[in-house]
Structure formats: C-alpha cells, structure tokens
Symmetry: C2
DNA sequence: ACATGGGTAGAGCGATCATTCTACTTTTCT
DNA sequence: AGAAAAGTAGAATGATCGCTCTACCCATGT
C-alpha cells in the first residue's frame, strides 16, 4: 500500500522531472499534487524537503526499475544500462533528476546528501553485479567505468537522442569489459 | 583586447560556475562583476541574456582550452579527454555549466539553443579529430562514444573525484578505439 | 571650455516567492 | 453518535525577485 505521503512524493517527482526545479513554485507543486497547501507542508515542511522527498521517491522507483533481468553472464552486468535505455524511452528523458537538483541547490546539505547517496548505491549496483560474474577481476575499476557510461548516457540522450546514446554506451561497455577479459 | 562586455561575461561565468544558477540574483551578479546595475543591464538586457552571455564566454574558453596538443595518432583523438581532466583539476569541477543551465531554465529557447550549439560543436571536435587519423573508420559512431565519455567524465568527476573519473574515461576510450581497430 | 557618452549609486515598482494562519469540512475510530 | 484527526480553501505576510528610473560624476575630443 502506498501512503499519502508517498503519493504526493510521486507527484513531486513527476513535476520536477517535467518542468525542472527552478520554474516550480510551491503553489504550482501543490496544484500538481492536488492537495492543499497545509497538507503539503505537513508532509514536507519546506520546499527543500519537497525536493528531497521527490528524490527519495525517484531513488526507489529507479532501483525497482533495475530489478530483475538476466542473472548471469555479461548481460547481468550490462542490465542496468539496458534498463536505463528503456527508462529513457518509456519514462522520461530530461537528464538526471539528481544532478539537476544538485545544479539547482548546490548549497543544500540535505539535497547533496540524498544525491550522493543515490549515486553511491548506483555504483554499488555495478560492483555487486561484477562481483557475481567476475570476482577475480578488478571489480572496483570496471564498475567505475560502467558508472561513468551510465551517467554519460543519461546526459547524451537528451542532447543526441536516446537510441544513439544507448547504442554508444552499450558498445563502449562491451569494449571495456572485453579489454578486461570479460566476455 | 577584451571588451568590457567580455570581462563582465567572464565574471558571470565564474559566478554561475561557483554558486549555481538558482542562487544568484541579479544584484549578486552585479556585485560579483563589480559594475553598476545600469551597466550590467546595458550589456545584458535581461537575466536570461546574462546566462547566455556566460555560456558563450565558457564556450570560447573551453575550445581555447582544447586547442593545441598532439597532431597525430591516438593521442590526437584522446586529447580533449585529457584536457578535460586538466580542466577538472585546474579550473573547476562543478559539473557541466551548460547542462546545469539547461536544468535550471528548461523552457528558455535562447539558453537551450546556446547549450545545444556548444554540445554539437564538441561532438564535431571529436569527429574532426577522428577524421584526421582514421578516415576509413565509422567516424560518426566512434565520435558519439567519445562524446559520451566526455559527458560521463564531467558528471562522474564531481561525484567520485576527478582522478578516478579521468582514468576511467581514458581507459574506456582506449578500449573503444581498440575495438574499432584504432591503436 | 564644455558638451557628450559612459559610467556610478541606489531608490522604487510590481510581481512572485516560501511560508503561516484562520476558518471550515470530511473522514476515521471507538 | 460524537470526538479527534486530517483534510480543504485561500487570505495574509514579509522577503526577495527582475527590472526601471532618477540623479549625479568623470573622462574625452574638438
């Protein structure tokens, strides 16, 4: 079951993603979530808390999105990049919500922490998957490369189109894995 | 010789880079550029024009920064990525000013155009360099990969540190070139 | 000498911002 | 049924925003 707070957080996520952070005043957020100002402030007592709430919602959504997929082989490792391609095609393609938030609020400690936490967990995702299929390799180093490709793909997609970006990232990932002796 | 407008644009660039776009009101920009409000508005008749001016200044700075370097071989192609590493170490490491601006002003046509123009020219930079050393290869496709690595490196640097990001990008670039038969 | 162009300082304007508050209604639980 | 909790609408507040305007200053060139 989803609580009211979670529902509102989802609405905030969607609105920040569609319209950016700067252009969305609290009144617009309220209208988009279809709640009263009082209720909105009850769950998210400041605009900063609304941003953090939206990011936490997006964090959950995205890791849910990555769940499943091949359990072994190189596909297991590449799966997050493939799923990012699906996300860009099916959900949204407006850059990284976390990095956009960081760009907009560079001196909010709470937002910064939420972003860094999400990105650290994403890097872990690649490490864990690599550890599963190639524990004898330099997992740390290869995971860093895959993480970099994931970030680059997100940004390139909004500039050059999703499909070109997805293809480039997957090709580069395979080349990087091959160079490390992972086929 | 640098005109007054160019000097102010440089100040705007620096301020947006250091403090982000959202937190900088026009009065703060004025103070940072050490001019009067009237003069600032004379050269940049709106806040949007100030953002565009800063981006155009950054565009020039960055392509100047990429100039020079090895004239042949794989180093010629990798040079922009090496120089990005220098930039992140010596100049600033706060993500991409252009993408940050786009995140902050998603529905300003002028800003969007300035950003897309810069990124298109950056992609061209890789194409031209590839054309020089490997005109028989699929320049378009390989350039896309290098562009993606450049973008990913910029974002990864502020999350995981410049040096790790630089190493990962260079390694991935070499692997991608090797996979295409460019040594 | 003095007009002119380009500069300064900073007050003022209307709009919008995040946030709080009052007053009322609906839902939920016992 | 009735109390308590949780919702609604939306006005009010004070701060800040982008931007304009007035009034004055100081170089420079003929």
């Amino acid at each position: 079951m989803t609580t009211r707070k979670e529902k509102i957080a989802g609405d905030l996520d969607r609105q920040f993603a569609e319209m950016g952070f700067a252009e969305q005043g609290v009144e617009a957020l309220r209208a988009g979530a279809d709640v009263s100002l009082r209720t909105l402030y009850k769950y998210f007592p400041s605009r900063e808390a609304m941003v953090v709430g939206a990011l936490e919602h997006r964090d959950k959504s995205y890791f849910d999105w990555l769940a499943g997929g091949p359990e072994s082989g190189i596909e297991h490792v590449l799966h997050p990049i493939v799923r990012l391609g699906d996300w860009l095609r099916e959900v949204a393609n407006t850059g990284c919500l976390f990095l956009n938030a960081l760009a907009e609020h560079p001196d909010s400690a709470a937002i910064r922490e939420t972003v860094l936490d999400h990105k650290a967990r994403l890097a872990d995702e690649f490490r864990i998957r690599l550890q599963t299929i190639a524990p004898d390799k330099d997992v740390e180093r290869i995971a860093e490369t895959l993480f970099l490709l994931h970030e680059g793909m997100t940004q390139t997609a909004r500039l050059h189109g999703r499909d070109r970006a997805t293809e480039a990232a997957l090709r580069a990932a395979k080349a990087a894995l091959a160079a490390e002796g992972i086929a």
